[in-house]
Amino acid sequence: MAAVFSRITLLLPLPLGYAVLALTLVKALRLDAASQRGWWLFGVVPLVVFLVGVGRVMFKPRPSWQGSIALDQFHGFHDRVTSALSFSQVPAAERTPLMQAAIEDGVALAAKLDPRRAVAIRVPRELGVALALLLGLAALSLLEVRHFRQLPPPPSFEPMVMSADDIDLFRDVAKELQAKNDDPNALIAVHRFNQLVEDIAEHRLDRHEVFQRMGDLERDLKGDLELDRDARDEGLKGLARELQKSGLSKAAATALDEKRLADAEKALRELAEKLKNKAGRPSAAELDKLRQALEKASQSSEERAKSIDQRRRELQEERKSLLKKKNDKADAGATPDLDKKLADNERRLEHLDREKNRAERSQKQMSELDKQLAQAARDLMRDAGQSAQDLEQGAQDINRMAKQETTEEQKQELLKKLQEMRELMRQQGKGGKDQMQRMQKFGQRARGQSGAGQGQPGDGQGEGQKGGKKDGPLRLGSGPGSVSIEIPVPQTGSGQGQGQPSGDKPGGSDPASGPSYGSGHDPNLAGNATDLKGKTTDVTAAGADTGQGAASSQVIYGAAERGFVGRGYKRVFTDYQTVAERALSQDEIPSGYRFYVRRYFQLIRPRE
């Protein structure tokens, strides 16, 4: 036992020492799990050495009587106990009297033996090393090695910046759409668009949020458009189906079926006229058929909605029943059939929900028309004339529905503006801050504003237009690659003197500044001033006034110098834009270029 203990304490420092070393390395080098694995696996070697070493001592054959000899030696018994034990193994018959006496002597001594003291397990010196290593290991495991990780910088909020000019543009667009629309859904969309523009103007949104909100708005608009269109088409088809049943309303039914709402309106008006006109009034049977058709047509949307509701209720009942069955069978384990049926039920319910939504929209859209048709059917029983009036009102409703298509067009327009806005922002993102600065300057000049206070001393880029020698031509935006739009600016003419002619002074509004010939002479020069011999006469030539205002070219030149303001410019712009839009819609122009054309016209649009 003592030997085993001694060997344990002797060898224990080996695995402990290795563990301390490995842990130190792991913590000091901040090894990850994969790198640590090798070190810990190699630790098996000292562990095996420890186990084998201890095992060898534990299972090593011991000398005979080792324990009793140790006892005899400790007590000074001169091997009396050991000899007694040894003689006791001799067969009794072979024992001599002295052997027997020795055995009895040994037995008598046994009571005096004190094995605990005789073979005391002393604490080996190596135990201190093992304990020290153990403590070190514990201390190391408690040590926290700080891992300094470079944290990414906190996300900085970079607001999406749009030039004031563009913001004005989109504000105007929103106003225009708002004015044109009276559909609540469309108005909501316009309001959201307007809010988006305002948020951009107030720098409340970053690029990501702007694109996200544009995406949301676009998606909702598209969804609305599709739903409305589907619902209306469905309602009209229902009407057409019922009206087909009467020969009198067949023409209107065909037009409705083919979504020719104007024709349908016209057909209904004609039918109303026919009913009013007593001479060519249809027979009673035809009228009855018409009445039935009108009655059924007026109920088609409602019936459809009711039918959907009924189916939904049935499906919900089925779902309840399936869920109950599933709960009942929950203890029995998996129920694949029930799960499949439930999934199918859920899918059908979702489909019906969509259909219901569509039916409700359709019902809403057709509600007035349905009422008129129902009234017409009722009145037809009493008075055909009265029924004719109802039909005329129905025709008006169809007219209204046709107008609703215009609302959709407005939504489409809004969608288009959103797409333009997105493209604009994308381009702006590519151009960076320089382009933004250019656009801001351009916006100011387009409004005819001066560059007051915005001059940059010494940069050679005066804001003024007078002289314009350092300005160069106006350059509108920087398209992809080398695409750019230049607006030729005359080098002479009457400028407004609002810039920095020499480009080395802050912009100002002094009309006298700017390059011009001087008077007097350099006092350093000797001699008289040059005296020309020839005499010249100043002649002023003026064009004849036609009374029709300035020519387009003059207006454009003026706009280039003063900004895109004024009624004359507005007229010229409208002419050009109309032509351009027509060309865009009729000619085959690569879709990517359409943006640049439209963008060009956006930029040169008349400012208030």
């Binding site: 005979s64 009587w65 030696q73 001599t96 002295l98 027997q100």
Partner: protein, 333 residues
């Protein structure tokens, strides 16, 4: 009375006799307890002892005293270079009888005694020394065609002076091996010298009385032989003996370096017999490892032959044996 009780009584009686013997010897011999015990062990082990010591340490006196207390026939032979074998064995002489008849008669030499003191045995020639061989080993002497048995107990005590080596004939190994123990007689201490002076320079002459009979001695010798030895004790003695050999399994480096030849089996016999005697001295019934250790020096020091290197280095056999005893564990698997 059981056998064990009887054995216990025998041992007690042995112890009592030894005590009386020691007491009686102690009246003449001052100190030298180990030497006295060694000599007694040799005698009780039915063997012989070689005493080595400078002159004047009382070696002869010890033997004479022993002979006196034992009441045994004692003879002393002073070995000299001209001493002939016949001088110690005896010789055949023509003797005329009372009737005038003459006949050859063997005259026994001094070797025919119970206790023989071979004083300064190394001074005699090897021829004479070898004359002791048969008597010591066989306890009989052959002269001509007649073998003469020496009466038991037979105990030869030889002495030799380790200093005066000139003109001496060191005992051959074969003869040394026949001595049970080689006992070194130490110089007495100051107190012991006082006692020696007091006893030898006054008119007082201590007379020893006989305390044991011959039969009792033989009885005691027989008891010694009957003392059992446990296997591990015997094994230890054998291991000690084997460790004296340079090629022995457990031989320490000192042995391997300085020993030419280790002890013969007689060495182990001497250790174990001596251990048995010691056990009986202590009133124990079996010999122990401690007993073996106590006897090892006396039993082996004349049997371990040093190599030339050992001789040159002045390594004493006692140092070699002590090294073995120190290194050898009490037990081995």
């Amino acid at each position: 009375m059981t056998d064990a009780e009887q054995a216990r009584e025998e041992v007690a009686e042995f112890q009592k006799r030894i005590g009386a013997l020691r007491e009686e010897i102690g009246r003449v011999i001052v100190g030298n307890r180990d030497v006295i015990d060694g000599v007694l062990s040799c005698m009780l082990g039915s063997s012989h002892a070689l005493l080595e010591g400078v002159p004047g340490l009382g070696k002869t006196m010890l033997v004479r005293t022993l002979a006196g207390v034992l009441g045994l026939e004692f003879s002393r032979i002073q070995f000299t270079p001209d001493l002939m074998p016949a001088d110690i064995i005896g010789t055949v002489v023509l003797e005329e009888g009372a009737g005038g008849a003459r006949q050859l008669e063997f005259r026994r030499g001094p070797i025919f005694a119970n206790i023989v003191l071979a004083d300064e045995v190394n001074r005699a020639t090897p021829k004479t020394q070898s004359a002791l061989l048969e008597a010591m080993q066989e306890h009989r002497v052959t002269v001509g065609r007649t073998t003469h048995v020496i009466e038991e107990p037979y105990f030869v005590l030889a002495t030799q002076n380790p200093l005066e080596m000139e003109g001496t004939y060191p005992l051959p190994e074969a003869q040394l091996d026949r001595f049970f123990y080689k006992l070194e007689v130490p110089f007495p201490s100051r107190d012991e010298l006082h006692s020696i002076i007091d006893r030898t320079t006054s008119t007082q002459h201590a007379e020893v009385k006989r305390v044991l009979t011959r039969a009792q001695i033989l009885e005691m010798q027989a008891l010694v032989r009957r003392v059992p030895v446990a296997r591990h004790v015997q094994d230890y003695a054998i291991r000690v003996l084997m460790a004296t050999h340079p090629n022995g399994e457990e031989a320490p480096d000192l042995v391997k370096r300085f020993v030419r030849t280790g002890g013969s089996p007689r060495g182990a016999q001497a250790m174990l017999l001596g251990a048995k005697v010691r056990a009986l001295f202590d009133g124990r019934f079996a010999a122990s490892i401690d007993d073996v250790k106590a006897t090892a020096l006396a039993a082996l020091r004349h049997r371990v032959l040093l190599s030339f290197e050992g001789e040159a280095e002045g390594v004493a056999p006692d140092r070699v044996i002590n090294e073995i005893l120190k290194k050898l564990p009490g037990s081995k698997e």
